[in-house]
Amino acid sequence: MRRELLAAMKFETDARRASVLVTDVADGAQFLLLASSEPKNSVEVAARQALLDGESRMALVEGREYFFTVAWPAPRLVIVGASHVSQALAALSVTAGFDVAIVDPRKAFASERRFPGVNLVAQWPQDAFKQAPLDPFCAVALLAHVPSIDDPALLEALDAGCFYIGALGSKKTRDARMKRLAAAGRQSEADRIHAPIGLDIGARTPAEIAVAILAEIVSVMRRGGARRR
């Protein structure tokens, strides 16, 4: 592989765009197809499909073997609310390969001491997202449990098409949130919100709840959450 190709892939993922490296495995010839490029031949059509599926794979096109290496941007997890559950979720998610950010305007919560080494944004979500916009490769976990913090983040996450949106709270809290969503005229988007948040694994402690949330995010990312509950 030429060094320039590797640099170009990195440039795309750093800019939070997907790309796919096409390798002719018989002779080693390679090129990079960007998410924005229109496929011009049958190889590029197959490569583009792999990119959309988010799946690196082999393909036989017109008698030749090609391997498509799909490079998606690192999944980003934005945790809204610097709570006890957030502390455990941040640590687990970094290990699982997520690019993690914590957003909470309450500086007593969003402190370096409580979240050593984590990207902390002590701002209101709507201000935080102006600097680091949400995108479809983002998961958003609403854990503040305070509507004035969670709700603006929820609306932005819906607008940005984030692949996962989960909100902490009992069924009662969820129903109250649904009423506010309906009042904002956005009732039809309610089924995009995972609430109560996390897979039902009987979690009790904050760390166990974090495991349930991370498991749900991975399940949605990898198979559209098909087997959820």
Binding site: V25, G28, R57
Partner: protein
């Protein structure tokens, strides 16, 4: 990571799982990155064939020629470098130049 290693002036090869049959520990697209001294990061299996891939990768850094490796229970070297899970994998090894 491969890019960071290059910036440090290390010779780098990338091994990629390009095909799997049956039960295989890592999916297509999984990478193992190797430098000329055999340091490595990532994986192409559960650890069963890495040693062989690392040797091939360091050779590849010297020669510059990409190659395809196959591992599986049907392989005559199964006892040495077979996949205990019973699957078969193909690995593409290439130098970054």
């Amino acid at each position: 990571m491969a890019f960071d290693w290059l910036q440090e002036g290390r010779g780098v090869a990338i091994a990629t799982v390009i095909e799997t049959w049956g039960s295989a520990p890592r999916r297509s697209g999984s990478h193992l990155i190797v430098d000329q001294e055999g340091h490595f990061a990532g994986s192409v299996s559960g650890g069963c064939v890495e040693a062989e891939v690392i040797v091939a990768a360091t050779e590849c850094i010297e020669s510059g020629a990409p190659k395809i490796l196959e591992f599986g229970v049907e392989d005559e070297t199964a006892w040495r470098i077979g996949l205990p899970c019973g699957g078969r994998i193909r690995v593409y090894v290439e130098k970054v130049s």
